[in-house]
């Protein structure tokens, strides 16, 4: 059985996730360019997803195939959302 994640690491991950959620929310106000703001929001979401996968779900200790799949999954989600946002006609 894998060793698992130390509780201290889980506490830090939780704190970072909470902070990142608040950062993501404030990004709606911080940037002048809508696409930049959306890019920032999704970047934060991608980092959060990466942390949940890596630490809570223990993908970091999993096989390479799983790590590659979820790294690509996070990147694909972030890029496709930002790209499709940028492609939409300006309001």
């Amino acid at each position: 059985m894998p060793a698992g994640v130390a509780p201290r690491r889980l506490h830090i991950t939780w704190a970072v996730l909470v902070a990142a959620t608040l950062c993501g929310l404030s990004s709606t106000e911080l940037f002048r360019q809508p696409v930049v703001a959306v890019g920032a929001i999704l970047l934060v979401a991608g980092i959060k997803a990466h942390l949940i996968l890596g630490t809570f779900m223990e993908v970091k200790q999993g096989p390479t195939a799983l790590r590659i799949f979820f790294a690509s999954w996070v990147i694909a989600c972030v890029i496709s959302i930002v790209l499709l946002y940028a492609l939409a006609p300006a309001r």
Partner: protein
């Protein structure tokens, strides 16, 4: 592989071929397929938005971002408690395993309360899945997510019941706790993208 080539010793395979407990849990097949489907859902939502961005943004602003934000924090916290429970289980600490699961369930149940408040206020305000495409997708995507959430709560409750019956942390309990925990984190993981998609994109100025 299961080829036995008619070897009389084949029956021994019943009893085992190496220790498999170090392998990643098989539930990953489910998680991979499910998260891939959600990647498609996200893209579908954004592709539908291409045709009517103004409507999507105006509709998005009708959602209460405080509810979405609170639910994000609830899921993150519940996920954290369940991760602590699994970590405790690995150390053989049954008391903390139970406590973590109970905490995860209690915090997690607040998600349902807020989600139902949100659905009810929307429906009472005359906003239904038929209102427009945004709300069609809003109800579909959050509804599919909510079904996952309900399944996850049942998994946690079953795990807690199992942990309360156990005298010590046995490998079978641990196996289910690891798989159940992964499933619970999936609900958090998917919400991490659903929250900005539905609540935040429309608020960008």
């Amino acid at each position: 592989m299961s080829s036995t080539r008619g070897n009389p010793a084949a029956v021994d395979e019943l009893k085992g071929e190496g220790d498999t407990s170090a392998d990643p849990p098989a539930i990953w097949t489910f998680i991979v397929l499910d998260s891939a489907s959600f990647a498609v859902f996200f893209a579908v939502f954004m592709a539908e938005r291409l045709a009517q961005p103004a409507l999507f943004d105006a509709s998005s602003r009708l959602l209460d971002v405080r509810l979405g934000l609170t639910n994000t924090l609830i899921l993150i916290t519940s996920s954290w408690l369940v991760a602590l429970a699994v970590a405790a289980g690995r150390r053989g600490d049954l008391r903390r395993l139970r406590a973590g699961l109970l905490g995860g369930i209690l915090v997690g149940s607040a998600f349902a309360v807020l989600k139902l408040i949100e659905y009810i206020t929307k429906l009472a305000g005359g906003i239904t899945p038929q209102t427009n495409d945004f709300f069609g997708y809003y109800f579909c995507l959050t509804g599919i997510h909510f079904v996952h959430y309900l399944a996850g709560m049942i998994v946690l409750l079953v795990l807690l019941a199992r942990a309360r019956k156990s005298q010590a942390v046995d490998p079978e309990l641990m196996g289910w706790a690891v798989s159940g925990g992964i499933f619970w984190h999936l609900i958090d993981l998917l919400w991490v993208f659903l929250f900005p998609l539905l609540y935040l994109l429309g608020r960008v100025k």
